[in-house]
């Protein structure tokens, strides 16, 4: 009997939407790698859960193969700044390992997670050794590093690598898996069922990896 009661209470609490939440997310990558797709999916999911949202993007010159980032803030309360304060990011999601380093100063030392692909995008001469980059990431207390390219290829196409990374970040987003998946379906809806399936599988692969690597 007491068990049932407990469940009921939980349901009531959810219905009232009394749950307060705030996630400050830095999305990192190189121009053209699809970080805005990740931002759009998280944004759509957040809106479907009636959360507030601010998302600062980079347009213009840096898009040409330079480093790009997006500040994505979701919260149950009104959000003031379009920019996340330094040391305030709950999450850094990077689709490129060296780009993950660029925002170390943004990460919350007490609770922040870093999720990064380990697949370098080398368009500069002095690109560091991957090993040296990973050494820096692995010093952090909370991280997930994954071979997103390989995992995406296993699901059917390397082009879904960004969605693999999103899947790996999904346990830390504070959003329902179902809202994220609905957003993927909506976003890729026009492009056909094959692409939806590919991206959902890519999402699951990333999520599974993430859960297993930190259990």
């Amino acid at each position: 009997m007491p068990k049932i009661k407990c469940k009921k209470n939980l349901k009531v609490a959810n219905n009232k939407k009394t749950k307060r939440m705030k996630k400050d997310i830095i999305l990192a990558g190189v121009g053209g790698q699809g970080i805005l797709t990740i931002a759009t999916i998280i944004g759509m999911a957040a809106l479907s859960e009636d959360l507030q949202l601010k998302q600062a993007e980079v347009h213009g010159m840096s898009q040409r193969g330079g480093d790009v980032q997006s500040h994505l803030r979701i919260s149950s309360d009104p959000i003031a700044s379009d920019l996340i304060p330094e040391g305030g990011a709950d999450l850094i999601i990077s689709v490129e390992p060296m780009e993950a380093l660029r925002y170390f100063n943004m990460l919350n030392k007490k609770s922040g997670w870093l999720i990064s692909s380990i697949n370098p995008f080398k368009n500069i001469k002095d690109y560091p050794e991957l090993e040296d980059i990973l050494k820096e990431i692995w010093k952090l207390p909370r991280y997930v590093t994954l071979d997103a390219d390989k995992m995406a290829r296993e699901q059917g196409s390397i082009r879904a690598a960004n969605i693999v990374v999103l899947g790996a970040a999904s346990p830390y987003l504070g959003l329902k898996e179902s809202s994220l998946k609905e957003a993927i379906k909506t976003l890729f809806g026009k492009k056909g069922q094959d692409l939806i399936d590919l991206n959902l599988k890519a999402f699951d692969a990333g999520k599974e990896f993430s859960l297993n690597s930190n259990s």
């Binding site: 190189v30 121009g31 944004g43 809106l47 507030q52 949202l53 601010k54 998302q55 600062a56 993007e57 980079v58 347009h59 213009g60 010159m61 840096s62 898009q63 040409r64 193969g65 330079g66 480093d67 500040h71 309360d77 959000i79 003031a80 700044s81 379009d82 920019l83 996340i84 304060p85 330094e86 040391g87 305030g88 990011a89 060296m98 780009e99 380093l101 660029r102 170390f104 100063n105 943004m106 990460l107 919350n108 030392k109 007490k110 922040g112 368009n123 500069i124 002095d126 690109y127 560091p128 040296d132 980059i133 820096e136 952090l140």
Partner: protein, 544 residues
């Protein structure tokens, strides 16, 4: 009503559509481009017959909008901050003619120069023209204030300047719409000499503008866009302009701000509000995104009053955009820092795309110039400006739209022969044509490399105004036909291209070499669209 998720730029666009806009005119420039793009893509705008066009440059756009205002309809003109320099002649004089239909000028500033050559503050231009300036702090305000600006413009018969900065332009948030108003009917000003700025009329009109200044100030307060927020701690008062207000709030998410705050989003600012704050506090902190304009005014030349903190005394950085952390420091607050950025990290500057025609053009130009000493290539603004960086190191200047040709003329006239100008197709029709006419008239020995990728590439591939008739423009300006050379910038044509460029460089007169190949980005977009269309056709055929 359902919230729309909009960029600051898009919120301005939607606000204009909803208040009854009839036309928007613009030249693309980061961070302003998305305003016009949004209206061009809007089905609602199409259904209403709203004119949304890219102009040859900001000046022609400004004048077109002024013409639409003359004809009684609401018109908007959008540009980046340096675009306002190009439009300045029309802009300054539109302040004197005044408006008839609502006229709103949007200038998007780029503090920290993310995609620009300077960080000039457009509020100065508003002050220079002595017209009202709006500076929204968030996306909802961007919508609301655009809506308001058109109504204000029609109420007071003046153009209104809307100033935003990169962060607001390119950040997305929820926006609630207002009542949708119809467009104006065609009508002419009651005084048909209002727009005739002959000295005698201009003097009268200028006096009218001056007499409105006090009304502009009162409007800033009465609109509610500038307002006072009480605070108990009188040791300091804070003036927060535009988006800097958000950075202030960010530092007090868990508590109310203890200090009195003056939130500023409209100029000119009325003295009484500032005086009220000044009188009740011991010191003032001024937060401005851009130049310390209010700060300079409040300090005055002698700066002998109460202690004032801001960008001028080092409390905040003198240059670049603000952020929550700079403001926290200015408030004397501590914040949890993140991790040190590892030294392993390397810079990743933007580069030309793989397969971009500019690579081949520059490889050929570099080789053709090998016999000469370095430093002979004056260039311009566009993707090809990236040719300044390694490995190309191909160009020696980038100043303003069109300056390549005219600077090459000056350098050649100083004795730097050969001198080469490198300019893109869209930049050429924006501001390069008149310079080329100078060169032809004076027979200055320069070679213009007109890199034709048939689009305005850097800002995302907008139409290039000279598309399809560049040669006839150049011929019409007087360049001899045999010295207009079209080449194909491809690796397999390299030797031939080098030879042609060498020939034209050695010609003692004006020559134009046009490397012509479509931008790889627009090509990819076009192909994608074509595939989608083909697929749709096939599907509809098979279903028959």
């Amino acid at each position: 009503m359902k919230k729309l998720l909009l960029l600051g730029d898009e919120a301005i666009a939607q606000g204009a559509i909803d208040v009854g806009l009839s036309g928007v005119f613009a030249y693309p420039g980061t961070p302003s481009t998305e305003i016009t793009e949004y209206i061009r893509a809007s089905q609602e705008a199409k259904d209403k017959g709203i004119v949304a066009e890219w102009s040859a440059n900001e000046k022609t756009a400004m004048e077109t909008a002024l013409g639409m205002s003359y004809a009684g309809k609401k018109a908007m003109v959008c540009m980046k901050h340096v675009g306002l320099n190009v439009a300045a002649d029309a802009f300054m004089n539109a302040a004197i003619t005044g408006s008839h239909g609502g006229l709103v000028v949007v200038s998007a500033d780029d503090p920290s120069m993310h995609s620009s050559q300077n960080e000039q503050d457009s509020r100065f231009f508003g002050k220079f023209a002595q017209i009202p300036v709006l500076e929204p702090s968030n996306q909802q305000e961007a919508y609301d204030m655009t809506y308001y600006s058109f109504l204000l413009s029609e109420k007071l018969g003046t153009p209104v300047l809307m100033r935003i900065t990169t962060r607001l332009a390119h950040s997305r948030s929820g926006v609630i719409r207002k009542e949708i108003l119809p467009q104006n009917n065609l009508s002419l000003p009651s005084d048909l000499k209002q727009f005739v700025l002959l000295p005698s009329i201009a003097r009268k009109q200028y006096n009218t503008l001056i007499s409105k200044q006090r009304i502009f100030e009162q409007e800033s307060t009465e609109s509610g866009h500038n307002h006072f927020i009480e605070g108990k701690d009188k040791s300091m008062g804070i003036i927060a302009c535009g988006i800097s207000y958000n950075y202030l709030l960010e530092n007090y998410t868990q508590q109310t701000i203890p200090y009195p705050v003056l939130k500023i989003s409209q100029y000119p600012v009325e003295k009484t509000l500032v005086k009220k704050l000044y009188d009740e506090v011991e010191s003032i902190l001024i937060l401005e995104e851009g130049y310390p304009i209010l700060e300079e005014l409040i300090r005055g030349l002698l700066d002998e009053g109460k202690k004032i903190k801001g960008r001028m005394d080092g409390t905040l950085p003198r240059t670049g955009e603000l952020n929550p952390n700079y403001v926290a420091k200015a408030l004397g607050m501590n914040y949890e820092e993140g991790y040190d950025i590892p030294k392993t990290l390397k810079a990743r500057p933007p580069v030309l795309c793989d397969g971009c025609s500019h690579w081949d053009s520059y490889y050929a130009l570099n080789e053709a110039l090998e016999p000469y000493s370095k430093g002979r290539v004056l260039s311009d603004i566009g993707c090809y400006t990236l040719g300044a960086l390694p490995p190309l190191n191909a160009i020696n200047s980038c100043v303003d739209m069109g300056a390549s040709i005219t600077m090459a003329i000056g350098a050649a006239e100083a004795g730097l022969v050969p001198a080469v100008a490198v300019i893109g197709d869209s930049t050429f029709t924006h501001s390069g044509m008149t310079g080329l006419l100078d060169a032809v008239n004076r027979k200055v020995p320069i070679t213009v490399m007109l890199l034709d990728n048939s689009t305005t590439a850097m800002t995302g591939g907008q139409d290039s105004p000279g598309f399809g008739h560049l040669e006839s423009i150049i011929k019409g300006l007087g360049v001899e036909e045999e010295h207009i050379r079209i080449i194909k910038p491809l690796r397999r044509h390299h030797e031939e291209n080098v030879a042609i460029i060498k020939e034209e460089i050695s010609y003692n007169g004006v020559s134009v070499v046009i490397p012509r190949r479509e931008c790889v980005q627009t090509l990819a977009k076009r192909m994608k669209l074509k595939h989608a269309k083909d697929k749709m056709q096939k599907e509809s055929q098979s279903s028959k």
